[in-house]
Amino acid sequence: MTSALPPAMIFLVGAVLVPLFRGRAKQLYLLTLPVLAGLDLLYLPDGQSWTTAFLDYSLILCRVDRLSLAFGYVFVLISFIGTIYSLHVKDDVQHVAALSYAGGALGVTFAGDLFSLYIFWELMALASVVLILARRTEDSRKAAFRYFMWHFFGGLCLLAGIILFVITRGTTEFNFIGLTDTASLMIFIGFCLNAAVFPFHSWLPDAYPRATVTGAVFMSALTTKSAVYILARTFPGNDILLWAGAFMTCFPIFYAVIVNDMRRVLAYSLINQVGFMVCGIGIGSQLAINGVVAHAFCHIIYKALLFMSTGAVLYMTGKIRGTDLGGLYKTMPFTAVCCMVGAASISAFPLFSGFVSKSLTVAAVAESHHVIVWFMLLFASAGVFHHAGIKVPFFIFFGHDSGIRSKEPPFNMRIAMGMAAFICIFLGVYPAPLYSILPYPVDFVPYTAFHVVGMLQLLMFGALAFTMLILSGFYPAEQRAVNLDTDWFVRMPGRVFVRFCHRPLQAIARVVASWVGSVVTGFRSAPFRSLEIEKRMDWFFHTLLVEFPDRIAQLVRPLKTEKSELSWNVVYILVPFILLFIAILMVYR
């Protein structure tokens, strides 16, 4: 019997053929691909298949076990929903990018060796950057540039780690890696960057709000969660992840309260939710890993739902800032309800999907008696309800009346939102199907009276705080502003460096030039060989010293303008990397 195709191939080959279709046929074709991939998943044989020899190593395209299958299911499911949501888009580039992006995520999920993992990893970065560029604004182009630089950096760390790993351990196959040496550290950093672990998180709230309406849905689902999957496989039980995860659940909620762009609020709450998963990976017990997978599954659906409903608002009104919106429930009730279902799910309200999944992770933390982490997660649970649960629906659909009377979004968008909302409620009410696909057997009952009442108290009294603060006027008003994040530490020195190359360096060059001039004039009083000396001096000082800073200034100009000269920047990153790479090879020869 021929084994089933690697699901990534269906998406990747399918993506290439998208431009061949037109109109209805294209829409039908787009929908067929995730369905095919979904059927394909059902027929994937357990264990490794699609292995080929590559140099002295083997490429394994399909490594199927319960962990990878669970993520495979949800990636295919969200691709299906996301594709429905973007059916109205006429731009082929976006469809091709979204499908290859999904293909990359599935490739990462089922990759059994580090080489193919790396290829799919970079493919995801490339495809997702297109989804930001496709917005076609100055702002999004700059954001795409920064996004690409971050992921390029992460990808290079990963590649360096992989090469070291192969050299030291002599194999490309991987399972549990564990943080032991340089190789694993580099791989760890590469994975953590994609999982938006602090301090490598700032690309996420920077780029996601600037992506296209439909692109953000895919992005919210794929990049971070594929990194969560790979961390759960390679670094479970790592203490750094436990604390990093706990910190990730807490710090973004402060930002989410003061940020104005509603999709940026969601981006920060995305980090907060991934924090729960990273924390679960840090514990690494069976219950915790179950919690991670369950939470990733539910999170992908409800976060996509939130991005879809806010995206629908952006699509229909052209506005997304809290200061510009308000009172939209009047003419967009369906979108408002979907948004609130997503909000209730992310807040882990009983009967919504977040409740049955987050409880697993929190229970795992309690079982391992990490008291401080437990309190942090509880704080984050209350906080997430505060911003993603109340703030987003409240400021968009209720609050003050902005006077906007927009219609409901197109039919396909409503279908997609309805499907996601249905899944959120379905899993919240009947979690058994979700529990049945988790990696380990589940012996957990989320709906005990105490747990339900406790969670409701936590949320409702958080809501009471919100109500009182809003009514008293103490709640921080929405303001148009930039809020600095850790990317400041990269962007500012970069800016200073570019400015240094432009002004002071050239000023020094001018001083040197005038000094050379005066020296040369001095030599003129001596008749012998003065001409020759002048020529040599001139060449040395003028050509070499004076032109050199000019050259540098010219070379760094692409960095400053962040304009279309992406290839130059790639060269800038590549050169030091190749040097680093050679150095590493020399050391570990």
Partner: protein
């Protein structure tokens, strides 16, 4: 073109009060139920009456206070990076 349908439920102050009233009633109910629960807990302090309610309220209020402080620290003009 026919005028769009609009929902106006929350336009009247009376309705808004009604919503808030139901909300407050639900809070009281939650507090009362708390005393009749069999509590199966991991940590001893979860047994304290209305622990989750108190913690949720304090968490959210302190969240807002800290966020206001954070705004002092990180807020810049909108064209800061341009």
């Amino acid at each position: 073109m026919k005028p769009q349908k609009e929902l106006t439920f929350l336009d009247s102050e009376r309705n808004r009060l009604k919503v808030r009233k139901y909300f407050y009633v639900s809070l009281v109910v939650l507090l009362i139920i708390d005393f009749f629960l069999h509590k199966h807990v991991h940590f001893s302090w979860e047994k304290a009456p209305c622990f989750y309610a108190v913690y949720g309220f304090i968490a959210c209020v302190s969240l807002i206070f800290v966020a206001k402080l954070l705004r002092l620290l990180v807020k810049r003009r909108e064209d800061y990076y341009d």
